[in-house]
Symmetry: C2
Subunit: 628 residues, 2 copies
């Protein structure tokens, strides 16, 4: 039915070929439920807030000549409409829905009506009474907004083809960007990267080389002080070091990660192995030294930025939801380009502990930041008021800066595309969910069914529904945490397998391969260089990070001390750990000789999955628990 199989990312070369929404369906389970909740609750919820706040209405105001007087929201609010459209586009690609289609078409029509004759489209700039176009590249976010518009257009092209209104709007916008920022034009970049990845994908969709060239220009210009000075310094928007010279991600986390994703796309399409190696190395360094246990990125609230190496305070973790999504975008590109399992490991960790954590159980509240230690019981957010601030103790319905909710809509709707890939020899399964995967291997169709209740259990059964007549290979990812995993090939005994990718002969039609991942709860310690959690321990269960919440402890989690000489206990579907609650000495001045706390008797206390914390009223919560 479609040209490109519902692919969020479609490189023309690379180690692995992506499989899209037409190739992979998630059939219920942990992620299937969340995809359905996204469709049933989150997309309509986000749409209603964008209407209520007037951010979609800004496009009507533009058409009706009511700007700037009637404009609502921040300078980048157009992008939220575009991200919602992208989410709707993937959702429609996943599962047609006439009512959703009609709502989508109506919003597209309102956006399209506001586009100017030369392709420019912004409700914030360029009209009488507004600042001139591109007069504030540092903070104006015009190209950032175009990027999200174009990504929405790409989602349409990848699900219904090029003959589509949103695709036409996107192409006009992209042409305008190339006209204005091409060689001989404005030799600068946007303060917030995003246009790079969008233009590269639009090139892949349309074959128009100028979009790739423009993406490449934006990547190469950056890092040379092309933007004006700002209080946060040039590293905030990655304008301090050229992309190919950086060694690790720095500055504003979302900006850094979107830029890196775009740089990978440019590197792959231009066969620029040096650029690809640079970004790969930066990504691995960031995973090794600047990433939270949850996969979260961004250790400073100030500037929403990465901290120094190993500076990862749990209580000041910013771990913006959008940074998690951006990390998945980047690591997915690197899985495709390099076939390195560490990138798929990072995706799994971020999916289960950032993407699954951000939305409320009802799909109508969201974390913008994802702290690893909630010290103070907050108040529950007003479900009728957008939050003025990014950080909160529980999940507000919307935000004054509301990038994260719209970003989640597109991520959940396109989730299927992250599960599996193909190459000339077979199929690779990277993420585990009950699913159906179809691919063409060496010209022959393959279809496999993945059956699992992962992550509740670790058994993953991959059954060939249709196997090629010639031999084929099946590759399964053994996660980095899964010491003691075992794999039984079709009919054979379970054999130990090591973390990384394990490849076996593809089973014949009707036969199965069974992977057993040891998801039992385990203690996890941090590298000694992570000072902020020295003397503390966390619990992980499979890919899921666990947390201690005051609701379960019956006391502030600050008072908990855990004993780790035996493994955490699993009983009746719960994970429990031996905890004492201590009574701190209150001496007036908190420094002096070493003191021992008086502690209550030890008892077993249940932990919960981090992704489901803060659903039971105000609480304190910690992932890292002091030993002792």
């Amino acid at each position: 039915m479609t040209l490109t199989h519902g692919l969020p990312v479609a490189p023309s070369r690379g180690r692995l070929r992506p499989l899209g929404l037409d190739d992979v369906t998630i059939d219920g389970g942990f992620w299937g439920e969340r995809q359905d909740l996204n469709a049933a609750a989150t997309i309509p919820h986000v749409e209603s807030w964008l209407e209520r706040l007037g951010w979609i209405g800004n496009f009507d105001a533009a058409v009706e000549g009511r700007l700037p007087g009637d404009r609502k929201g921040r300078e980048f609010s157009d992008s939220e409409t575009y991200k919602l459209l992208e989410g709707m586009a993937w959702e429609l690609g996943r599962r047609p829905d006439p009512a959703l289609q009609a709502r989508f078409d109506a919003i597209v029509a309102r956006v399209a009506a506001a586009q100017e004759a030369d392709g420019y489209l912004s409700t914030m700039f360029g009209r009488p009474g507004q600042a001139a176009r591109y007069s504030d590249l540092e903070w104006g976010h015009e190209l950032y907004c175009f990027g999200h518009l174009i990504q929405a257009g790409v989602a349409r092209a990848r699900t219904v083809g090029l003959d589509d209104e949103l695709v036409r709007v996107s192409v006009r916008a992209a042409d305008h960007v190339c006209d204005v920022f091409g060689l001989g034009g404005i030799a600068s970049v946007c303060g917030h990267p995003e246009i790079e990845v969008a233009l590269a994908e639009l090139y892949r969709v349309t074959g128009q080389r100028r979009y790739l060239d423009q993406a490449s220009l934006f990547v190469e210009r950056r890092g040379r002080g092309v933007l004006g000075e700002i209080d946060f310094g040039p590293q905030y928007f990655q304008d301090d070091v050229p992309v190919r010279e950086a060694t690790v991600f720095d500055g504003h986390a979302v900006r850094a990660l979107y830029l890196a994703a775009g740089a990978v796309d440019v590197a792959v399409e231009t066969a620029d192995d040096g650029l690809l190696a640079a970004v790969t190395s930066q990504t691995l360094a960031t995973l090794a030294r600047r990433t939270y246990l949850t996969g979260g990125m961004g250790a400073h609230h100030e500037g929403e930025s990465f901290g120094a190496d190993f500076e990862l305070p749990p209580d000041r973790s910013y771990s913006e939801t959008c940074a998690g999504i951006a990390s998945i975008m980047l690591n997915h590109r690197l899985v495709l380009a390099t076939g390195d399992a560490r990138h798929a490991d990072a995706i799994e960790r971020t999916l289960f502990n950032i993407v699954a954590t951000a939305p409320a159980a009802d799909g109508r509240g969201f974390y913008y930041t994802n702290t690893l230690y909630q010290r103070v019981e907050g108040t529950m957010p007003d479900p009728d008021e957008p939050s003025a601030r990014a950080s909160s103790a529980a999940r507000p319905p919307f935000f004054a800066v509301s990038c994260c909710p719209t970003n989640l809509t597109r991520t959940f709707a396109s989730l299927g595309a992250y599960l599996a890939t193909a190459d000339d020899h077979g199929v690779q399964v990277h993420q585990y969910a009950p699913s159906t995967i179809r691919a063409v291997v060496a010209g022959e169709p393959v279809e496999v069914k993945v059956a699992t209740t992962y992550p509740a259990t670790g058994r993953i059964t991959v059954t060939a529904v249709t196997a090629p007549s010639a031999g084929w290979s099946l590759t399964l990812r053994v996660p980095g945490w899964a010491s003691g995993a075992r794999l039984a090939s079709a009919g054979g005994p379970a054999e130990p397998v090591e973390p990384g990718y394990v490849t076996v002969a593809g089973p014949a039609t009707g036969e199965s391969v069974v992977l057993e991942l040891p998801v039992d709860a385990r203690w996890t310690w941090a590298d000694a260089r992570v000072d902020a959690v020295r003397g503390q321990v966390a619990v992980e269960r499979g890919p899921v990070v666990m947390a201690l919440e005051s609701v379960d402890l019956g006391a502030d989690v600050a008072t908990a001390r855990v004993r780790t000489d035996a493994a955490p206990v699993e009983a009746e579907g719960r994970v429990l750990v031996p905890v004492r609650t201590v009574v701190p000495h209150d001496g007036g001045w908190p420094y002096g000789t070493r003191t021992e706390d008086d502690g209550a008797a030890e008892r077993l206390v249940p932990l919960i999955a981090y992704h489901s914390w803060a659903e039971r009223g105000p609480s304190t919560m910690r992932i890292w628990m002091p030993e002792g």
Copy 2:
């Protein structure tokens, strides 16, 4: 010669009477050298930067009608000139200097010329092309600037009397403030407290009750959402909770502490014991739960604010120099009001570890923030460029926001006033420096001489130069850290004394009392609730916090592990600790099973006083060192 003895603070009642610059002189030693450096280097350095940047020139531009076009600096830059004037005023009060007097007079004349007929004075607001007066109380800082102007006027009144041009300018400004913000006027406050403490002191100087009433109005109005909404939230400027209802300091640290100092002044002058008790309790709670080992306050870079209780990350310590100065201002007021030694302890700690740390050894560079852990070797600041940012690895010559250097000038110049007090029975010595202290006790003059090389050694000899014919008492502070202190009264044996104040019969003329404080280096641990330094230890020597610097370790301080089973070693005037440097495991993903570092052999490594770090080129530094 003067009415009020060079007193920075002169309450009309309270437990103890302050002694001012006319009563107390510092005679060399640790602080005397720094006072002289302030006069010789810092005051001229700051003055030259204020001229060079055009911030003093803004007053000329106002007179010459060149505003707003020619205006330089941030909205609050007028206040830097006022703080310099205050510093010069105290310095002139401490030690007359005709050349300095001439420079002072010239600046005062330029400021005075810019004052408008109704007393209003600002180079930022109110002219054609500028925002209207008081149109931005949240961020405009107009009343904050008036506060510093009036404090400078108070310094003049307290050193030369009321017949002074700067006093007249201040009185006109204060009258204007009362006219505009009094009952029936604008019922709001300034986004940055400071006017409260200034008006209360101007009341003390002039006896004009309306200044006290206005200060009281400002204190009482606050905390009820009178200011508009800002991104940081109302707690940023203490507009979330009324002053007398708060339990601990919160929000922007300097704002919170200036406000509290003003609230103490109001409470004392209006005999409002409830307000005094509230602020005292907030101060003690903040010392117990939200203060760094250095005395530094402010744990978040974002919003320059206090963190939650026990949230005190060393690497993200903001500990603004101005917050340290504000803490000293507040705690000095509480020493006078309550006579509680804990406030004098806080002053000592903050003096030796924040005020002494901020200026460079040459007096021409400054820390704005005072980190406890410098993770990354910075570059040395350009001595010819003001720093655009508050945080840096070493001490820049000036800042785009340059509150701290000017604040230091007034603090060093008025330092003598923090050393001692008097009451009806005798003299109390709170801070130890070689000094001469004069007071009148029960109508008779007392003069004592304090001889010491403190903090290098712990022996403090207090000799009566003039003793009253009737009996008198001498009270000495035994610091909270000084377990094992001993005191020998005139002619007697040394007896153990406990931390707090110890009072003995005042020695007769020519006789001495000797206090021996155990300044030997000692290990210090933090309350277990300070997660960020769990498993780590610091070293203090007397009141001085020590630090490990990479220059001494010969490696990044991140790799150091110290052994604490014996006391730190003191040898040849240095403090040394047994350290291993470890080689971290680089595994790619920093979480998993517990790992032990491979370590080099143990050796003794010298520490340095924290206040003298970063004077030997780029380095990493840490106060809290991992044990192991």
